[in-house]
């Protein structure tokens, strides 16, 4: 999804003039983003965009606002304070979701994973999670299993899942079974895929 295609997908929103003006203002006066960013949902709506699968109008507008910032704008502070501020979910820092790269030192992803807000945990395990070291990433995946976040939210799951994650999942499965409970089906499937792929011990 490019900024241009997002822009096109947003053509039908209730107040397209607001967005045009907002984008121009952000380019001319970057600090204006602190007021425009949180207003995006109220002005552009929060519905799904038919021409941009997986995107809602407010998320798309916010990402466009960020991309309208002059390249010389210091990447942090981000326009939002805190973390779980949006009912639609997603870390406060839109780059986590759309660009696969975030400003150096961006703590949105690790902060989001520390929360117990499942919307944030899920969003943080998107593409940006490639910046997590293996230990932190495994813990985050396990947290998804613990808290019922579908593993479909995890980017590059099969590529990154390793023997250590399999060991951790197996231990969790054992705990659950001891308590008369099961792992969620997607975690059981992952564990099966991992154990099938791993070389058997002699």
């Amino acid at each position: 999804m490019t900024p241009d295609s997002l822009r096109a997908a947003l053509r039908g929103v209730p107040d397209p003039d607001w967005l045009d003006t907002a984008l121009r203002r952000v380019t001319a006066e970057p600090t204006e983003i602190t007021r425009l960013f949180p207003a995006a949902g109220r002005r552009c709506g929060r519905g799904a965009l038919p021409d941009a699968p997986g995107w809602t109008a407010d998320d798309a507008a916010r990402v466009l606002l960020l991309t309208a910032l002059p390249a010389t704008t210091p990447a942090t502070p981000t326009p939002s304070t805190g973390t779980a501020t949006r009912p639609s979910g997603g870390p406060c820092c839109a780059p986590c979701r759309c660009c696969r790269s975030a400003p150096p030192g961006c703590r949105c992803c690790t902060t989001a994973i520390r929360t117990n807000d499942t919307r944030l945990v899920a969003a943080a395990l998107g593409p940006y999670a490639r910046h997590l070291d293996p230990a932190a990433w495994r813990q985050a995946v396990l947290k998804c299993v613990f808290s019922g976040v579908p593993l479909a939210a995890v980017a590059d799951l099969d590529a990154r899942a390793d023997g250590e994650l399999a060991t951790m999942l197996a231990a969790l499965a054992e705990e659950r079974h001891a308590a008369g409970r099961d792992l969620p089906a997607d975690a059981t499937d992952l564990l099966h895929r991992l154990t099938a792929a791993l070389p058997r011990e002699a």
């Binding site: 007021r35 304070t81 805190g82």
Partner: protein, 285 residues
């Protein structure tokens, strides 16, 4: 009975409370920023608190089907501490958020010059950010505190219809009614205001501009007293429609003035399960 609690400090309540509230018909709550019992000594602890009011707490509420909104402000008690005053400069970034439906709680605690200043400054913010204002009235010296509150509100230029003056009682009700402001009543288990006394006030002053809340927090309080007040109204001969006006439509109208009270995907509390004929939502009877 569908209930909107326009003033409750859920941060200090447990998930059991959310469950019981949902069961009693509470669908929406507004949590005003206030003090936390233990005095804070730096602005940073306020930002974490504000973040939780618009982040974690709405998520927690959502797990029980309760919609959560917040009001943000530097409260009058802590406005007296110079270490907390810089919070005033941090407020603007919160007042633009979707989940923030008013500036509050502002007003007086001990009626000091510092409180005067913070109160006026935050009423000005409410005007600038096009938000309603939730005004706390002092528990000591209430009548004079209320008079002074109304004078400051009038002087600020904010439309009286966009202000609720809260924690009222028999002594202060008329004053606020005549001002054009909305009237907030916090129902407590014993002291300040009870369901029975609230019913008497509704009989005498009618249901217009009347808001009933539980103000439940970490002190002795009860988040179900909104429901108890609705039941007391019915027993006293008020109609279902009167109860719905006081416990639902009035707070929707007041906070709706923010333009941010998005209740669009709230389940219809009057919905009935076609199979069983029962109300779909617990307590929605």
């Amino acid at each position: 009975m569908r209930i909107f609690d326009p003033h409750i400090h859920m941060t200090s309540r447990t998930t059991d409370d959310y469950e019981r509230m949902a069961g009693a018909g509470v669908r929406v709550v507004v949590e005003p920023a206030f003090w936390l019992g233990q005095p804070r000594t730096s602005p940073a602890s306020f930002t974490d608190y504000f973040d939780s009011l618009i982040g974690w707490e709405p998520f927690r509420a959502g797990q029980f089907g309760v919609r959560h909104f917040a009001t943000i402000a530097l409260n009058p008690k802590e406005a007296n501490d110079p270490r907390c005053r810089p919070v005033l400069d941090l407020l603007p970034r919160y007042l633009d958020k979707d989940a923030v439906v008013a500036v509050g709680e502002i007003g007086y605690d001990s009626m000091t010059p510092e409180e005067d200043e913070a109160f006026a400054a935050q009423l000005a913010l409410a005007v600038a950010y096009e938000l309603p204002a939730l005004v706390h009235t002092p528990h000591r010296d209430k009548a004079r505190g209320c008079e002074r509150t109304l004078a400051v509100v009038a002087e600020s230029g904010i439309d009286a219809g966009r202000v609720v003056v809260d924690h009222l009682n028999e002594v202060t009700v008329k004053l606020v009614r005549d001002s054009g402001c909305w009237l907030g009543f916090s129902i407590y288990p014993d002291t300040k205001m009870t369901p029975q006394r609230m019913v008497e006030l509704l009989r005498e002053y009618g249901t217009d501009r009347m808001l009933v809340n539980s103000a439940a927090d970490w002190g002795r309080s009860d988040p179900l007293l909104t429901r108890a007040t609705g039941e007391a109204m019915l027993l006293a001969g008020f109609s279902d429609d009167d109860v719905d006006k006081v416990l639902w439509r009035n707070p929707v109208e007041f906070y709706g003035q923010s333009g941010r009270l998005d209740l669009s995907d709230l389940e219809d509390p009057t919905a009935v399960d076609p199979q069983t004929g029962n109300s779909i939502l617990r307590g929605g009877s």
